[in-house]
Symmetry: C2
Subunit: 320 residues, 2 copies
């Protein structure tokens, strides 16, 4: 929920003149997304999203993200397609920040997740993983084991302010994750941030996957582990095994899972819970004055981590 940069009429006019889209018909900030400033941009040609990349997204990674979206869209993945300017470029400067125009996707993200959403999601993820195999570029996951360690160092001192004992619990979990983390699983391009607000549905179809700004190369099964955390817990903390079962079964119908991938799911799910616990904890402890975004509660993911730690076999995820 944020628009961090106010774009003036003149700046916008100059910016869009670099594209073949006609004149601006309307321009409104969108109250979604926490990393970047997003605007609805109605042009004479069609409706687009204009994204201004705020500092949390590394400028040097943007060509990767934009090229990936273009590649996936070309393979039929329902994701935004970057729009090329008259000079062929998809990225340029606006108000001193990198900016891009991408296509507008129809649909609405689900405020209440149903098993059918998870089924469509599983299919779409698997198709995206397959479509990514022909993408030539790669990017390491900055929020993997080493990244967690760095985040923890930045939070360790104050973590117990959020909850007594939190620092010690995270330390112990990081150590056990380092031991249990799989070494060899099928790998490729993953989205790595597929929460419900990044997935649009329209009627009975999944109409959009958005916000590829954490995309990277990592284990395919780690994407499923993220989705288990992001789509399969109720607001009261309970695990929804029906949602999980639909997610995984639909995925396997498109891209079969190896036995090692299934066996690794509990550890991967603990890691995914750790990743969101740590980034949320960092944001919680480093709230900017006057920020327009309410930080999310990190402790939700501590609960989820404990759940994954407690399960006895991957069948607890509804795998049949």
């Amino acid at each position: 929920m944020a628009v961090y940069t106010e774009v003036s009429d003149e700046d916008l006019k100059t910016f869009v003149a670099e594209y073949d889209l006609g004149g601006v018909v309307a321009f409104k900030g969108i109250a979604e997304g926490v990393e970047n400033s997003n605007y609805l941009l109605n042009m004479e040609a069609a409706t687009y999203i204009l994204t201004l990349y705020e500092k949390r997204v590394a400028r040097e990674d943007l060509p990767f993200f934009l090229a990936l979206m273009e590649h996936l869209a070309g393979q039929g993945v329902p994701c935004p397609r970057p729009i090329h300017g008259k000079d062929g470029k998809v990225m340029r400067n606006l108000c001193g920040k990198p900016a891009a125009i991408i296509s507008f996707l129809q649909g609405m993200w689900p405020r209440r997740v149903l098993p059918d959403h998870c089924r469509l999601l599983g299919q779409a993820i698997a198709a995206m993983h397959l479509a990514g195999e022909s993408f030539a570029q790669s990017r390491p996951n900055a929020l993997g084991l080493e990244g967690w360690e760095r985040l923890f160092q930045a939070c360790a001192e104050k973590a117990d302010e959020v909850r007594p004992g939190l620092a010690a619990e995270i330390r112990g979990e990081l150590d056990s994750l380092a031991k249990d983390w799989p070494k060899n699983l099928p790998k490729g391009i993953i989205h790595a941030d597929l929460f419900p607000d990044n997935v649009f549905f329209l009627g009975n179809e999944l109409s959009g996957l958005i916000d590829f700004y954490f995309a990277c190369n990592d284990f395919f099964a780690y994407e499923l582990a993220i989705c288990l955390n992001a789509w399969c817990f109720e607001t009261d903390g309970g695990f929804n095994i029906t949602n999980a079962g639909h997610l995984i079964a639909a995925y396997r119908a498109v891209r079969p899972l190896q036995e090692e991938e299934i066996a690794a799911l509990p550890a991967l799910a603990r890691g995914a819970a750790m990743r969101f616990l740590l980034t949320r904890l960092y944001d919680w402890l480093n709230q900017a004055d006057g920020a327009l975004v309410r930080p999310k509660n990190p402790l939700e993911f501590l609960q989820r981590l404990r759940f994954h730690k407690g399960i006895e076999s991957p069948t607890a995820y509804g795998i049949v």
Copy 2:
């Protein structure tokens, strides 16, 4: 910049089923407007704005505001038109709050105000004032002399925390405004909140006047006095007499001003500055924890009030 209420898919579906607009194609919160939650609602039929009225807008006033917009739109004023449901109603409940669908207006509000904007604004205001004369309902201005007094009472004790001496200065100004306030000037429907972000321009035309939720019956010239405050000061505090001259001249070309209206402008402009000084001061002193809106600096309007106090005749507003 705010979306206060999260609308679920199911609630939205049930809500739009009351209208003849087809299915929902997209739905996004808009990061504009501070009083209500606004969403861009793409329907199969067209694009609309869905507004959820938060508690600052009195529920009992909503029928007035919506009927006024419908009346003005019918008279050719470029303002949003409320959409009627199948039952004929323009207002119903969503997530426990009153809500309405209104038409979407093209254009963009000017981040940097130019004399041409003021010229188009002057014409549009005058035309709106004339169009309002055939509107049957009326609503007193809750933010007139008495309203200021109430707001001041609520702020007096803490006002000096914002600036030493502020309470005494406001008290003195309120007393002198009560003496100087005109008794008899041409009156009718005014918008009463025409800041640049409530006015859209497209190409060389004014394409929209929005946000009628302060509209009321008051002196027509008071609307001009509000616009002098809202459109004719530079960010450094300087008064832009060119903008003011264009605003007033364009207004007079459509609805001539009486001599009494012109003579009253300095007092009316002081009053308008007082109105925004007081509401901003109130918001500044009553910030909710975790609010998503940054309160605006009230002292800008103290400077403007002092400017209006210091002028010797209405010619200082560029009137020729």
